[in-house]
């Protein structure tokens, strides 16, 4: 019961900032409400027995990506004194496309009628994740680590080169 109530609360925390992002024209406010939305998501993850994922969500998204975006914003502030305000365009078209997509995918989801059998995870999920990383997913793990390294080095190179 409590879990259900908590789920609804966290859903609200997730959805409300997203609605705000849809409405607002201020980029910096959008980025911060995105952080709130991610907080709500990580709460949902905790309720789904995925504590590791919740922590990752907080650390990488709310901590890392949001900060990165804010930095990006500050550095690309236009000199025309427009601040962080942007405009909307093709409002009707965009809303129509996403709304239609939502309706039709929702129809599909309803038609398919998900049924899940509940299975409790045995043992510590975090330990299990660690084992999986070093056994079944070892190649993906190494490749993604390399990719991240390359991406970060490349990003700093790209950003630096323009400064010269």
């Amino acid at each position: 019961m409590i879990a259900s109530i908590l789920t609804y609360i966290f859903t609200a925390i997730t959805i409300a900032p997203i609605v705000y992002i849809l409405i607002t024209k201020n980029v910096i406010r959008a980025v911060f409400s995105l952080a709130f939305s991610f907080l709500g998501l990580s709460g949902l993850y905790v309720l789904m027995n995925a504590e590791f994922m919740a922590v990752v969500q907080l650390l990488i998204y709310a901590g890392g990506i949001i900060v990165l975006m804010v930095f990006g914003l500050m550095l690309t502030k236009t000199t025309l004194n427009k601040g962080f305000i942007t405009q909307h365009r093709s409002l009707f078209f965009g809303s129509l496309v996403s709304f239609l997509l939502f309706i039709s995918l929702a129809a599909l989801a309803t038609r398919s009628g998900f049924k899940v059998g509940f299975t409790e995870h045995a043992g510590d999920p975090v330990a299990q994740i660690g084992q999986l990383f070093l056994t079944d997913f070892i190649i993906a793990f190494e490749v993604v680590a390399f990719l991240l390294l390359v991406a970060l080095v490349g990003a700093s190179y790209l950003a630096k080169k323009s400064g010269e």
């Binding site: 259900s4 997203i18 849809l22 990488i60 990165l68 909307h88 365009r89 790209l158």
Partner: protein, 103 residues
């Protein structure tokens, strides 16, 4: 823990986040907004993966979502670096005004 709430609820939630991401990508006139939209879409996929992976003893969904997060981080870093370069050259952040990548 989640017996009370049906899976359709979470599918709808993730659908909503996904479609909101699409709307943001299409409507807003700033590249940062486009990035936000992409992040939202990725998170919608993650939510689905994590939700269904709690019924999977192999936890494949959870593992995949961790990789998704890592790739998203890499993508944002690269995208912002490119954005920075473009801004330095053209003083624009609107993706539609950008018509060429060469000087």
């Amino acid at each position: 823990m989640m017996e009370a709430i049906s899976p359709t609820y979470f599918v709808f939630l993730s659908l909503f986040i996904f479609c909101a991401g699409i709307a943001i990508i299409i409507i807003k006139r700033s590249a940062i907004f486009v990035l936000i939209g992409i992040e939202l879409m990725l998170n919608a996929a993650n939510l689905n993966l994590v939700y269904f992976s709690q019924y999977d003893p192999g936890m494949n969904g959870l593992m995949t979502s961790v990789f998704v997060v890592v790739l998203a981080a890499a993508e944002v870093a690269i995208a912002l670096a490119i954005l920075l370069n473009i801004f330095k050259h053209y003083k624009i952040t609107d993706p539609d005004e950008l018509t060429s990548l060469k000087n």
